[in-house]
Symmetry: C2
């Protein structure tokens, strides 16, 4: 930078020393100066540019320029994940002797890293474990929050493997400026919702970072943190100098449950984990996969989902937002609330009944139909609706009604299960204890 | 930056558009361009400048340009600490009803923060505790390592207060690239040396970070880390983007033993601590003092020492270096080693006996005399040597002999005490336990 500036200065001096008008040389100089200045500018711009990309997906920001939809294929490519195709889904079904979860067979979990290797291990009778987590920022969960847990519960049942669930109560203090006493309380409430998804207490360890960070876990945090430069973290997570320094500590905290040695009460040997999560969490585990071989640990494998779309256009491009209560369905919404919210959702139906009959609905834009595709188990019925609604023989009102019914069932089933979760059950899941039958 | 560059470009364009020679305006433009470029340059230089200071004292680098001696007064002023004067020492002696430690009365502990407020509390019957620490990077300690502990032992005896000692085994993995298993082992060996200084097990809690980080301690780490920007940390500790990100986690780890709530097994209420340490540790606690009020905690007070000078010129400007075995006296050096090392130390004596008689020794440059001033308890004898040696009636050889004697006594006393420390004693000091009689 300094050299370029000095060079510019010399040129300007030369320019000034020309007293007689002599057009050619003057133009040459002018051209050179402009080249230099352009170079300086581009150097300056390089840093800010990355934040101006058309589509940003990080654990902290999910945004699309001009309010467009997320291009999930592009995200997958940018991150370097692989797609999940029919043959991989078939293999999962064959190995687990059960139909794949709707989230998997309908392309909601759409990307992966090393899922094939995890299946190789499973086929060869070798062990792995599941790792997922939740950042407790609100007491009342919305439907989107449940998705990774519903899917993880399927994976646990299908593969019969142990599961660790990290409650990142520390994260929410660092990134949301909440107080530890509050996030710990929220975390415990969220754990009840998680337990309500039906996890097996003999195979599942749920831990709060504020309670569990320490010992071998902290040792792994330190080790991981020595393998990554600060520049790398800035590039991966978009942190800047004005961010609180605690943000820089957190990536290691989310990384190390990927290493079995962080749980000495569970694992004696190094075995890999499979992480079901939304695609925005990929940066944490990309980093973790870089670090793992340097520590002599297995790389975590990933199975990654899209986001449950928001009901209303405002949030359509991103994750469901906890700040717009009408854009999402909450676990404690009544059947009436759900009906009202789905009725006001964005649809792909035509404006008039006549047009609807003529053109059919645009299913890709239709949120009630999408909710059906996530939560309606019955493939035949979904196929029927796809055809009838898409070709105009079914009305938006009918689809909305069916979607409200199906979502209400999911929510009420969860609520019932949630009500049965006791403090003792929370303590049991969170106790630091061996799980002798975790692979059975 | 961009605006300035654009302005330059406009000026250059204007310059070029002038076809007829017109000296005044051309010179004006040239002047303006040069001002702009200067401004850009100074912006660029600002960052790199701080690292080019003549004297750098941080927890990681202690260096003086051109191999000069550390200007401790300048460091004190730069850091914003206060000096320790006679009246403060008198007050310590009055309040504790005992003579001040040689390190204090001879100006080795020379700077402080809020020591007066701690004395106010003590006078008013209010509680405080002591906090010091050690980073275990080698098994064999040198004399310089013992100093803060010898002094802390005096403070504990004089004020009858509890003491927490942090073993930063994590730090040495992050900054020295050692393995956790190694620093933990070194840490345990170092704890034996610390115990050998005579601490009272009923008032002292020694903890390894790898064992103790977690719970309330980790909560305070997170809280502290949310109050400091990364820029601030870079400015205070000189970290850059190429540093491993784990370095950014560490300042909070060293900060939070300053908060009594990090030790829920010891303290129920918020009380301040007094930290005896070498002046290079000040940046950690300057940061901690900034953070404390934002968390509603008491600011730590500090009492800060100079460094024990190295025996040989190479290291004279800095701390004793563990890398040059002859520049320092080690705890396991024999009497013969000590004699040899002190004999080869830098002195302020004259080259010939004649000159020595004529001019006397330059005591400020004389390492054996300085060692006597640190370790010879007897004020009268030290004064006698100062006079006789300084005025040429005593030879360098005699002073070296006496210094070797005194240092050997210190080392052998320590070695004897060290040999009596058992694994059970280490366990007792490091047990997480209440200390019911810690203020008695």
């Amino acid at each position: 930078m300094e050299k370029m500036i000095e060079a510019t200065r010399r040129l300007v001096n030369e320019l000034c020393s020309i007293d007689t008008p002599e057009d050619t040389r003057k133009h040459e100089i002018k051209h050179e100066i402009n080249q230099l200045l352009d170079e300086m500018l581009s150097l300056e711009k390089q840093e800010s540019e990355s934040s101006e990309e058309a589509q940003v997906v990080t654990p902290f920001v999910v945004s699309v320029k001009n309010g467009g939809e997320i291009d999930y294929e592009k995200v997958k490519k940018q991150f370097g994940c692989k797609g999940i195709d029919e043959s991989l889904i078939d293999r999962v079904e064959r190995l687990t002797c059960r139909k794949a979860h709707v989230f998997l067979r309908r392309g909601f979990f759409y990307a992966h890293r090393d899922l094939d290797k995890i299946l190789d291990r499973y086929e060869g009778g070798k062990k792995f474990y599941l790792y997922t987590g939740r950042g407790p920022s609100s007491e009342s969960l919305h439907l989107g929050h449940l998705i990774p847990f519903l899917f993880t519960k399927y994976l646990q049942d299908a593969f019969k493997v142990p599961l660790v669930i990290q409650i990142t109560d520390d994260e929410k203090c660092i990134f949301k400026n909440l107080k530890p006493e509050d996030t710990k309380k929220l975390g415990r409430e969220n754990v009840k919702d998680i337990i309500a998804c039906g996890f097996d207490v003999t195979k599942t360890f749920i831990f709060s970072n504020f309670d569990y960070v320490g010992g071998k876990f902290y040792e792994n945090m330190v080790k991981a943190g020595t393998c990554v430069t600060r520049n790398k973290i800035d590039g991966t997570f978009g942190f800047t100098g004005e961010d609180p320094v605690a943000k820089y500590s957190f990536p290691a905290v989310q990384a190390v449950p990927s290493f079995s040695s962080s749980f000495p009460h569970l694992f004696e040997e190094d075995i890999p984990c499979l992480i079901p999560c939304a695609i925005d969490q990929d940066p944490y585990f990309r980093m973790t996969r870089d670090v793992a071989p340097r520590l002599g640990y297995s790389k975590p494998a990933l199975i990654e989902s899209k986001f449950l779309p928001a009901l209303r256009a405002s949030g359509k491009n991103g994750k469901m937002s906890a700040s717009d209560a009408n854009s999402a369905i909450y676990i404690n919404d009544s059947a009436k609330d759900i009906k009202r919210k789905i009725n006001s959702a964005v649809t792909g139906g035509q404006d008039t009944l006549e047009d609807q009959k003529k053109y059919g609905a645009n299913l890709k834009e239709d949120i009630p139909f999408q909710y059906l595709s996530f939560f309606l188990e019955d493939d035949a019925e979904l196929e029927h609706i796809r055809k009838e609604y898409g070709e105009g023989r079914m009305t938006t009102g009918e689809v909305k009604n069916r979607a409200a019914q199906v979502v209400t069932e999911v929510v009420e089933k969860h609520r019932k299960a949630r009500a049965a979760v006791t403090e003792e059950m929370v303590n049991a899941f969170m106790a630091v204890r061996p799980l002798p039958s975790m692979f059975e």
